[in-house]
């Protein structure tokens, strides 16, 4: 018996490549110019998992993101990787959203998608590399009242027919093997799926692909009290570079000799520890 077609929604974020981020030392603020925008690395793997499951079971992968108009590029990348449908939820009214407001928008949009095309699985990256909060995925699962499995590293079994799956989850002490009902929401580690090169037809399709554009009022009317600044309980008070420990002595081994330098270092450790 053939499986019924499945529907997976992957939530993505376009982020500045933090390995290239520079800070203005005078103001302690971020220099954004010249920093490339990339698809959040964990979501590349989330999408790969979605595409694999689609290949096995047949069906469809929808990708959704909240962000500025430029995020269409990230959605095109997803189409290149095998997504069928891309939705950009974008409006100035969403600006300055914290994780609570963001999870409201993403959850509400997914609910709307689910109404017209029921969803079997929701995938998020374990965190976005710009904010590193890891809050939006759990927030969306809570709002949609579906089981949440964070730090997923493997899908052992995916059985949409019986609405159940077995997922491996990485925690500090080892790996949990969990059985969950479907639909469920997973936030994934990179190990969840190895990324393969996109096939040529996808690349051609992606180049011309126009993602659907959703605003704060259509096709879904978002509650203005729950979006943007108004819907965000947290604000950034101040920002700066991290305060760190002060430096002590520095000795060049080639000048003092290795044995003597090491002797000095150990004497200093003993002296400081003795004081403590």
């Amino acid at each position: 018996m053939a499986d019924r077609p499945i529907h997976i929604v992957v939530a993505i974020k376009q982020v500045p490549d933090t390995s290239n981020v520079r800070i203005n030392p005078q103001t302690g603020t971020l220099i954004r110019e010249g920093v490339p925008a990339i698809l959040n690395p964990y979501e590349v793997h989330a999408l790969e998992l979605a595409v694999r499951l689609k290949e096995q079971h047949g069906g469809k992968v929808t990708v959704i993101t909240m962000g500025p108009p430029a995020a269409v590029e990230a959605l095109r990348e997803c189409v290149e990787q095998g997504a069928d449908r891309g939705i950009l939820v974008s409006d100035r009214k969403f600006a300055a959203a914290d994780t609570l407001a963001t999870s409201y928008v993403v959850a509400t949009a997914i609910e709307a998608i689910h109404k017209e095309d029921p969803v079997d699985l929701l995938l998020f990256g374990k965190q976005a590399i710009d904010g590193d909060t890891a809050q939006v995925g759990p927030g969306v699962a809570t709002r949609l009242n579906v089981p949440l499995i964070t730090y997923a590293v493997k899908v052992e079994k995916f059985d949409p027919e019986n609405r159940t799956a077995i997922i491996h989850r990485k925690v500090e002490r080892g790996v949990e093997i969990l059985q969950t009902t479907l639909p469920a929401l997973l936030t994934v580690e990179k190990e969840i799926a190895e990324v393969q090169r996109a096939p040529l037809p996808n690349i051609i399709r992606a180049a011309q692909y126009q993602p659907e554009m959703w605003t704060a009022s259509a096709p879904v009317a978002f509650d203005v009290a729950q979006i943007g600044i108004k819907g965000s309980p947290t604000i950034v008070g101040s920002a700066g570079t991290p305060p760190l420990k002060k430096a002590g002595a520095k000795v060049t081994a080639s000048e003092k000799g290795v044995a003597e330098t090491v002797k000095m270092a150990l004497a200093e450790v003993r002296r400081v520890k003795g004081e403590g």
């Binding site: 933090t18 390995s19 981020v21 800070i23 302690g28 603020t29 971020l30 994780t99 609570l100 590193d132 909060t133 809050q135 939006v136 759990p138 927030g139 699962a141 809570t142 579906v146 089981p147 949440l148 499995i149 964070t150 925690v171 500090e172 002490r173 080892g174 790996v175 949990e176 093997i177 969990l178 059985q179 969950t180 469920a184 309980p233 604000i235 008070g237 101040s238 920002a239 700066g240 570079t241 991290p242 760190l244 420990k245 002060k246 430096a247 002590g248 520095k250 000795v251 060049t252 081994a253 290795v258 044995a259 330098t261 090491v262 000095m264 270092a265 150990l266 450790v269 520890k273 403590g276």
Partner: protein, 340 residues
């Protein structure tokens, strides 16, 4: 329960009946915050099955009251029953501040609670203080991969929630004798059938020394050149009774496993002695080790950023300096770093 008390709550994380030390670190921080808030009380929240005994430990670390939900559905951690149970208790007792450890369990849990009670949550804070004027929590956290520190305020929604990573804060000294406290038992209000997930099996990771709570950590970076270079570090660590750590480039190169990674992208540590060998010291690394009592850095580049936070810096060849350290420590009769 709407009294005027400024309740400062700490989630007492436990697994298999053993409390995670981050819970005590947070109780220590809560007591400091309580000094700057009028009519404040430090309280714990504890969930599990047959875990009442842990409440007594929390009292010794400074909690005056513990809210306890003891239920078979809480025998092991799952997001839904935990977040549901705690959210109900939050709604009932209206804490002003709620601190949770930024472990994989705590991060999973805190965001769900914040969503259920519709409040703000600041993740992975490295510093907590009470804003003197506004009398609200000022929670400082690294962002943009550790390049920037942002202080986050939660103006009106309550509780003000934050997660804090283990070892970012010092561990307070517990009272030597039992301390009396109040246990408030609350029902879970959810049955096993409503949970949705079941743990089928658990595969523990191979026995690895934990670097998080070690007194001495000897870490290597790209400058160690190869997995072989880490053998030298292991010898030094053994001589000191410590464990081996690594910078991200060394882990990315595959020389040693991720469990050894030191820094914000790995483990934050605050050992008595930290030795950084062949580590240049990216900002994420420096922030993650800055709480160490003593930092000894060895690098052949005199301009390596790691020297900026080192109590003692040796500009030199790690392959000469590290074996010499091992030799002198093995020969010496004075213990290092264990004295307090």
């Amino acid at each position: 329960m709407s009294d005027t008390k400024n309740r400062i709550w700490v989630f007492i994380e436990q697994e298999n009946g053993v409390a995670h030390p981050v819970s005590w670190e947070l109780l220590g921080a809560a007591q400091k915050l309580a000094h700057d808030l009028p009519d404040a009380s430090v309280e714990g929240v504890l969930l599990g099955q047959n875990v009442r005994g842990i409440a007594d430990e929390a009292f010794r670390y400074g909690a005056s009251r513990v809210y306890l939900i003891d239920d078979p559905a809480l025998a092991y951690y799952r997001n839904r029953p935990y977040s549901f149970g705690i959210s109900n208790v939050v709604k009932k007792y209206a804490p002003n501040i709620f601190l949770v450890g930024a472990t994989s369990l705590g991060r999973d849990l805190a965001s769900s609670i914040a969503t259920r009670v519709r409040t703000g949550l600041t993740a992975d804070c490295t510093e907590l203080a009470i804003d003197k004027e506004k009398k609200i929590l000022a929670a400082t956290r690294p962002t943009f991969g550790g390049n920037l520190m942002a202080t986050i305020l939660c103006k009106t929604a309550r509780p003000q929630m934050t997660t804090v990573r283990p070892r970012v804060l010092p561990t307070p000294k517990p009272a030597d004798v039992p301390v009396a406290g109040e246990v408030i038992s609350e029902p879970l209000g959810m049955t096993e059938a409503e949970v949705g997930t079941v743990l089928l099996n658990f595969i523990p990771s191979e026995e690895e020394e934990s670097i998080e709570y070690a007194d001495v950590v000897v870490a290597g970076g790209r400058g160690m050149g190869s997995p072989k270079g880490f053998g030298l570090l292991k010898e030094l660590a053994d001589a000191l009774g410590g464990v081996v750590g690594a910078s991200r480039p060394a882990v990315d190169a595959g020389w040693i496993s991720y469990a050894h990674q030191v820094g914000q992208t790995g483990k934050t540590i605050r050992p008595k002695l930290y030795i950084a060998a062949g580590i240049s010291g990216a900002i994420q690394h420096r922030v993650g080790v800055s709480g160490s009592d003593f930092i000894l850095a060895i690098n052949n580049d005199p301009n390596a950023p790691i020297f900026g936070i080192a109590d003692f810096g040796i500009v030199g060849d790690v392959f000469q300096v590290v074996p010499e350290l091992t030799k002198q420590i093995a020969a010496g009769d004075q213990p290092l770093a264990t004295s307090h």
